[in-house]
């Protein structure tokens, strides 16, 4: 190991983010810009990887490098690490490549021990300050490095306050702090078996290892899985000379956004605490002041901060999230990064910067985390007069949501798994609650501000959140909550409006999302860039209309069986399935035909001029029949009473039919085109309905573009036979209109064999639509229903799979089959249209894959369309960047 593993801030810059982490890179960049950054250094992510390779040890070389870096700090700060007179104190913080807020740990004031604390007291002439710092160090070190519950420390602090009759921390005397330090040390010894280390290098060594270790703690893993961050990226560690926001009333610490992260408005937005260290702000235990108050309290500091903020935004050409500390009216910056923002803010900021000429069209589009568009398209609470809120809190993450009150993450998760909608209600959340937030429709907390854990995480996930609702109190014993003078039980339904901060009892009407002008502008920019067409998965005329409004350029998947399920139709469909003879079935199909026809007519109207891909019947027939166990129960009951002989007969017949249709592995059974070949009369009826509708609608001046899709094809001969049926019925029904209505016939590629034999299948297909749900199931040999409950999560936890292949297209396996099929299909038929219509059509990485593979379109659910438009544009930009990189490499290579 001869690679340099420690970089002074002076030695790095923002482009070294992979090695130094985001925080380290930005600290280096700001240092180079000459900003007021306390000196420090970064231990690289490579060092983290070595740590894991060496079984959790820091190499001797790394330790020497750290010592050399510390001596540089000592020189700059004119102090010495561990020195009793002029002690150097540092913070130790994690800094991963991709921001993982709240996931990693921070230790402040490191370098204090029973001796140096005295030096600090002398230096600052404040024993009280020195011991406050020391007790903080012991508690943080105890918690993070030694794993002692933080509650034990805060209980001791509370005890002390009660005994000494102190209302707030500020009233505590130096002697009392000192006494607490002793108590904390005993606590450390008792719970960890070791003494709090007096050797400051040992402190540092242990802290660095703890940061590295925290990379693999459970909540970090959950977060990475949630955001698809590679597990082998590792974290950097930043060691920085301390500045103190807790030196009294002219000191403080805070967080600042250069624009409003909720709305995107161009205004300084932030919070700070006087006489506090950074941990106090994030923990949300004290309610911070709004930044505007700083302007009054310390105007010169405020102006300095505003100037720095404006400079940083201009430098990074993006809204910044800045941490700062004021030590005796001197301003220090501790971190800057691109600020997390709501989707609404992201859109507004991107458009504002684009219109101000600061960033290009492509940059504007890439400023949107496509996932956040979901949030914009969340439903919101309808502004009705009669709705009276029970309480109002901070509008921490916009959107409306309703759900059953769950008082802890475990309950939320369990109820969600049972299919309930859940509202997580909690005093405050911590990283341990991530799975609860994930499971919940929304989050309501009693404490914490707009930058508290709950707020940050909920915004990240695009979930509505109301924070700091001080009318809320929780009785965790009795499982009830108080909202003002209202009492609700756990399990009662509660609604929140994260846009206004309002909290309501019961369900409230939610209104559909609206497109803001900024969003329309941005989507317009995306449309200028993207190459993939965006289609919708829409089964009803209503879905078709919404899709078109949201920008769909066609319907990529209309599941005709969904029309079978609607209310009054199901009994007819059931009789059709139970029919004993082909004749009986035919006559029942005659009755279903006009229903399907009328749906198709409405959809053709909605899609006037755009293609509409209609998939013929796909699921196994038994899915339309009632539950076997329930029927058995009904029959047994009748038999006991001896009544309803006719009904008994009917039940018996139905039970026998269902039994005969049952399959061991229905996923791999009689469905899709296999049904169409066994019972051609069903497909015949559906095709007839399509073309009758097409003919009628076209007569009214609508341009119809039906594309008939045959599902589950695995052999070219299946498609050949069914295509012949489509052509036959089309020419019969259309007659004269035949020439003016052009239609396509294609297939879903969802069986691995179809992908393998794509060239042969292409001979009979006008288009391929990759049905990646089933293709994933069969390529992996995973039944989604079974896998997700039985082993998929454990595979994700153990990193056997890097992502859930049902959410993110598996590019190594399923993707290879798609690439193969597209290449071989287009080789055979260059004008073959190709698209994707699985759930992956709404997933960013999958859309990127579609762009790379040269598909013509992706199809996704209606509300996912804006997301897909944006992601498709980003995919083009990413591909260009990659090509540019390749070109650059290609230029370099020949010189070598």
């Amino acid at each position: 190991m001869t690679e340099k593993q420690v970089y002074l801030f002076e030695e790095g810059n923002a482009s070294m983010v992979k090695l130094l982490g985001g925080k380290g890179g930005n600290l280096a960049e700001m240092t180079a810009l000459g900003l007021p950054i306390p000196p420090g250094f970064t231990i690289t992510t490579d060092a983290c990887k070595s740590y894991y390779k060496q079984g959790g040890q820091l190499s001797g070389e790394l330790q020497s490098e750290i010592r050399r870096a510390i001596s540089t700090l000592e020189k700059v700060k004119d102090s010495r690490f561990g020195d009793a007179n002029q002690p150097l104190m540092v913070s130790v913080r994690s800094g991963s490549v991709t921001s993982m807020p709240g996931m990693m740990d921070t230790i402040l004031n490191l370098g204090l021990n029973d001796e140096t604390v005295l030096g600090l007291a002398r230096q600052t002439a404040s024993e009280s300050f020195a011991y406050d710092c020391y007790r903080r160090l012991i508690a943080m070190f105890g918690e993070i490095v030694l794993g002692i519950p933080s509650l034990l420390f805060s209980q001791q602090l509370e005890n002390l306050k009660i005994h000494a009759g102190r209302e707030s921390d500020g009233e505590i005397t130096a002697g009392e702090w000192k006494q607490l330090t002793g108590v904390y040390q005993l606590l450390v010894k008792e719970h960890s078996g070791i003494d709090f280390p007096q050797d400051v290098y040992q402190q540092l060594n242990m802290a660095v290892r703890a940061v590295f270790r925290s990379w693999n703690n459970a909540r970090a893993k959950v977060y990475r899985r949630l955001y698809s961050i590679p597990h082998d990226q590792g974290t950097a560690v930043n060691v920085q000379a301390m500045v103190f926001g807790n030196k009294g009333e002219d000191s403080g610490t805070g967080v600042l956004f250069t624009r409003n992260p909720s709305t995107g408005a161009k205004e300084l937005y932030g919070e700070y605490l006087i006489n506090a260290q950074g941990e106090d702000v994030v923990a949300g235990l004290r309610t911070p002041r709004r930044l505007a108050e700083l302007r009054e309290g310390m105007p010169e500091v405020y102006d300095h901060l505003a100037a720095l903020a404006s400079g940083l935004e201009a430098h990074y050409r993006d809204m910044q999230d800045i941490e700062f500390t004021i030590e005796n009216r001197t301003l220090y910056l501790l971190q800057t990064r691109s600020g997390k923002r709501t989707a609404q803010a992201a859109v507004k900021i991107a458009v504002d910067l684009y219109e101000a000429g600061e960033i290009t069209k492509e940059e504007a589009v890439c400023r949107i985390d496509a996932g956040h568009l979901d949030q914009l398209l969340h439903r919101s609470v309808a502004p009705l007069e009669e709705l009276k809120p029970l309480a109002i809190g901070l509008p921490a993450s916009p959107g409306g949501a309703s759900g059953m009150i769950a008082l802890d993450a475990e309950t939320a998760e369990a109820w969600k798994q049972n299919g309930s909608r859940v509202m997580l209600v909690s005093a405050e959340t911590s990283p341990e609650d991530i799975h609860g937030i994930l499971a919940a429709e929304g989050v309501l907390t009693a404490q914490g501000g707009m930058t508290s854990h709950a707020a940050v995480v909920a915004r990240g996930m695009g979930k509505p959140c109301v924070c700091g609702c001080d009318q809320l109190s929780i009785d965790a014993e009795e499982r009830i909550i108080y909202l003002g003078d209202h009492i609700l039980k756990e399990g009662d339904v509660l609604s929140i409006d994260g846009t206004s901060g309002r909290v309501y009892a019961g369900d409230v009407p939610l209104s559909d999302p609206e497109m803001t002008p900024e969003l329309l502008k941005l989507l317009g920019l995306a449309d200028e860039i993207r190459e993939l067409k965006i289609y919708a998965n829409a089964d009803t005329p209503q879905d078709a209309r919404i899709s078109r409004e949201l920008g769909a350029e066609g319907i990529g998947l209309c599941r005709t069986e969904h029309m079978f399920f609607t209310g009054t139709r199901l009994p007819t469909v059931q009789s059709m399935i139970l029919a004993d003879s082909r004749e009986e079935r035919l006559s029942l199909l005659e009755r279903i035909l006009p229903m399907q026809q009328s749906d198709f007519e409405d959809m053709f109207k909605a899609m006037n001029g755009l293609p509409m891909t209609i998939r013929l019947l796909d699921p196994p027939l038994h899915e339309f029949l009632p539950n076997l166990e329930q029927l058995g129960e009904q029959l047994r009951r009748l038999q006991l009473t001896g009544g309803g002989l006719e009904e008994q007969k009917r039940l018996k017949r139905m039970i026998a039919k269902i039994r005969s249709l049952q399959e061991k592995n229905p996923m791999l059974g009689l469905r899709g085109c296999r049904l169409g070949i066994q019972f051609p009369e069903i497909y015949d009826m559906q095709i007839e309905a399509v073309f009758r509708a097409a003919k009628t609608t076209a007569h009214n001046g609508i341009e119809v573009r039906p594309e008939i899709m045959i599902p589950l094809v695995g052999d070219p001969r299946e498609l050949k036979e069914l295509r012949a049926l489509v052509d036959k019925v089309a020419s019969e029904v259309l007659g004269e209109a035949f020439k003016s209505i052009s239609y396509r016939v294609g297939t879903m590629i969802e069986v691995p064999r179809a992908a393998v034999m794509a060239d042969k299948i292409a001979e009979h297909a006008d288009f391929f639509s990759f049905g990646t749900n089933d293709l994933t199931q069969m390529t992996f040999g995973y039944s989604r229903d079974d896998a997700e409950g039985k082993f998929l999560n454990s595979y994700l936890d153990r990193n056997i799979l890097s992502g859930n292949p049902f959410q993110m297209l598996d590019q190594e396996g399923v993707g290879k089959l798609i690439e193969w099929a597209v290449a071989r299909g287009k080789e055979k038929k260059s004008f073959l249209k190709t698209g994707l219509c699985g759930e992956h059509g709404g997933d960013q990485s999958s859309i990127f894959f579609c762009q790379q593979t040269g598909l013509d379109y992706v199809s996704c659910s209606p509300y996912r369309i804006p997301y897909a438009r944006m992601a498709a544009a980003q995919a083009v930009i990413a591909a260009r960047d990659e090509a540019a990189n390749k070109k650059a490499e290609a230029v370099i290579l020949p010189i070598e």
Copy 2:
């Protein structure tokens, strides 16, 4: 259409079999050799294809060609077709490319009508002969061309005999035959609505069309499916001048094999009927004479026949099956072809010809229809003294079999589908009964000789058959049979010994097959040629020993779960699965370990020096638990009586556990390595048992070569993790012995994704074994259990699939994935061992594929090993031939 569609026999030869069919090609060849062949011509298979293309019509051109060919016949025979004085009569017979005995139809005496029959009578001076011929024509034409049941004709013949008091056909007078002709004509009119055609060209035209049509009758399709003959091959039609075996006591017709088709002994073997036409022999209504009798009756004819037979065998260098007719002591040959033979005969003939220097080693090996080897390895009735047969018939197809008596094909098929073993017992069989023979363990008939339908078909399928058992009579009404003075009911168990012709009541002990010296010799020749190694699928020490005796060079698949099922172990296994805690499971696994270890020890001993591939637990755990419905029933019963509270609790617990393990698509659920990763303790135990057994056995001087196979891998990380487990346990258990025992770790490739990612998986694998059962299921998206009952047969009938992919490896789809995986795997690791262990390992075309793809071995069930050895040798020869053809083409191409 300008291609020539009719070939005179003088114009063709045996190499034109694709165009002329087997019969046509050989008739042409024999004509060229100057043998006594009645003149004739062949209508090509291309004409058959045109017939289907033209919707069942003969083109004008074809009809002209036929007329021209008929005029040539007229010249040669000095007669005219349809002429009242010198009438020409012809036979019309099908002749497909691949022999399909009994599948297609024949019409004799065509050209007779109310006028020409008088000419024939004058010519032959026998009105009786002429009208016998005419009534035969009307009956055959009525049945085959017009679809009138033959029974109606034979009933009229019976009526006539009763009224006229005639015992046999020979006693019937000319007047009576003439009268019958009239009756038959009325019958034709009545049942078909048309008159029997008097225009002889119309007769011919209709007959040719009927032959073409018969290509697609149901039984022909079944036969082709059974023997994988392409449906689009078509049949030729042979039109040949009649010679008459029914001209009295110095005429006759018969069938001859140049060697004994049952034993292979070098002797003329055949049967004939005096004063008969060919149909009489095949129909089995009259019991024919043995050929030896001809030597006494007509010695000069016999000698001529023997000389011709010997010449034909020498010419074709194979045993021939010859049809002949004697017309007034003049011998004519009507057909020659390679004779069908039992496996035993095939082996003996091949070895005899090889040792006589007539054929090469490669030819000898290719003379065996690998399928027939099964027959040799059928079990036979043990020769026990106390076994007394109920009756004795002709030993028509060797081997012993037992089964429930079924009196018709439908019953046989239905019972077989219910899982019963069936014995088809019938007066005689006809092509309509094929599905019954297919379903039966063996066949017993009352009538017919060694060349009767039942005998030929049963030999072809390698099923035991006893024919012409005249002690057998059947009461189809009462569903009982008489065997001498014994009465048995349908459903009673009956046994036959097809080698001796003996019939026994009930089950009889069957002894394992023996390898004859000829078979050993031939397998030795195959071993010299083949390149693929042959492994066995063997789960028990007994199977391992048998496999080795039959020539296995290793075990390719030992399914360890089969050891879990054996009697006393299952309860322990069930408790292990039901265990609530890991601890409880571990302690139960401790108890299973020595059982598995002891099995492995015995198997290692049996395989001394050869590799043994051990697959870790594969099926879902619920397969080991009892049936849910039965448990529910038990519980309900207990609840009603209120008894067995403890038992109720146990049942409830078990039901809950089974419910929790149930899956919607178990094929795609928690099984294979997914289990191994979820419950590492189970795999841990199995691996420990393997290596403990290896260590113990190796101590006793046995060479052990364990190869641990991880099932259902879909991602390289699964294999990586489990391989690490194997290596860990191996080093722990083996300790010192570690270096002397070498083992391999590999995986089954049975999930499509594993094939796609083969390069990555190869990094962690020493071998790939293609599990083509599951790979076929997932690549097609067919659940075998569901597909075979629900749609697979209909797909085969409609020719959507050309073969059942679970029997014959699908080379276009599944095969492509295998080729890809082998290529990518070996690219990554050149010494990667590859094999196939699905059921396809015992299928000929699949073995050919393995050879082409360059696999190292195939693994099949023990008794299939000789078959696989032979097929593997044939695969090498086929590959050489193909390469030679390609080379020849390559030489030709540049000249073009």
